[in-house]
């Protein structure tokens, strides 16, 4: 049953990522694109965790954590750049 649930969840997250890519492509403003990238980061973490369960490895958390850290720092750096025209003051 878990295998079935994992497959379903992977499919659903793939659809979610396609929706994010749609927003990333059309996003009228650059802030929309940043938001799309942020959501894309969350969904890709989910995919990594699901593959980890699917293959029952239990070693991909470091990757998930790194993406979470880098995604947050990236989002903040981009918005900071938009706000101030500079990342580090």
């Amino acid at each position: 049953m878990i295998e079935w649930a994992v497959n379903l969840a992977i499919t659903v997250f793939a659809i979610a990522i396609l929706l994010n890519l749609y927003r990333l492509a059309i996003g009228p403003d650059i802030v929309d694109r940043i938001l799309a990238l942020d959501t894309l980061m969350i969904n890709s973490i989910a995919l990594i965790v699901l593959f980890d369960i699917r293959l029952s490895l239990g070693i991909l958390f470091e990757a998930a954590m790194l993406i979470a850290l880098m995604g947050f720092v990236g989002t903040v750096a981009m918005t900071k750049y938009l706000l101030r025209g500079d990342v580090i003051e």
């Binding site: 929706l19 802030v31 959501t39």
Partner: protein, 114 residues
């Protein structure tokens, strides 16, 4: 998969967490793709996607804790980290959007003028 050795109830709970998490994240992404202006779109990812990933990670925590016979806390750390950072990045993005005047004539009322 070593699911055959798992009790049925645990399997059911883990499956429910995984599917519920996936559905929440899908709703967040639908909101991101469909809603009319930027500030409405901001609501989807900050709430739904974060909770979706939280559910998923709880399911994963249960799965690996049972598989190894020891509490696996890495997922909990990722979950806490996401719940702490999601509002901060949402706040920063809203600030940047206000600064740039995104969707100023959009459906949102009382748009602050600065």
């Amino acid at each position: 998969m070593t699911a055959s050795s798992m009790p049925f109830v645990l399997e059911l709970v883990i499956s429910l967490f995984l599917v519920a998490g996936a559905l929440f994240a899908l709703i967040g992404s639908i909101g991101l793709a469909w809603l009319r202006d930027f500030f409405m779109r901001l609501h989807g990812p900050t709430k739904a996607s974060t909770l979706g990933l939280g559910c998923l990670l709880i399911g994963s925590l249960l799965f690996f804790s049972f598989q190894r016979g020891a509490l696996s806390v890495h997922e909990a750390i990722v979950t806490v980290f996401l719940f702490v950072t999601a509002p901060v990045s949402a706040h920063m993005m809203a600030k940047a959007a206000l600064f740039r005047g995104v969707d100023k004539g959009g459906p949102s009322r009382n748009y602050p003028d600065r």
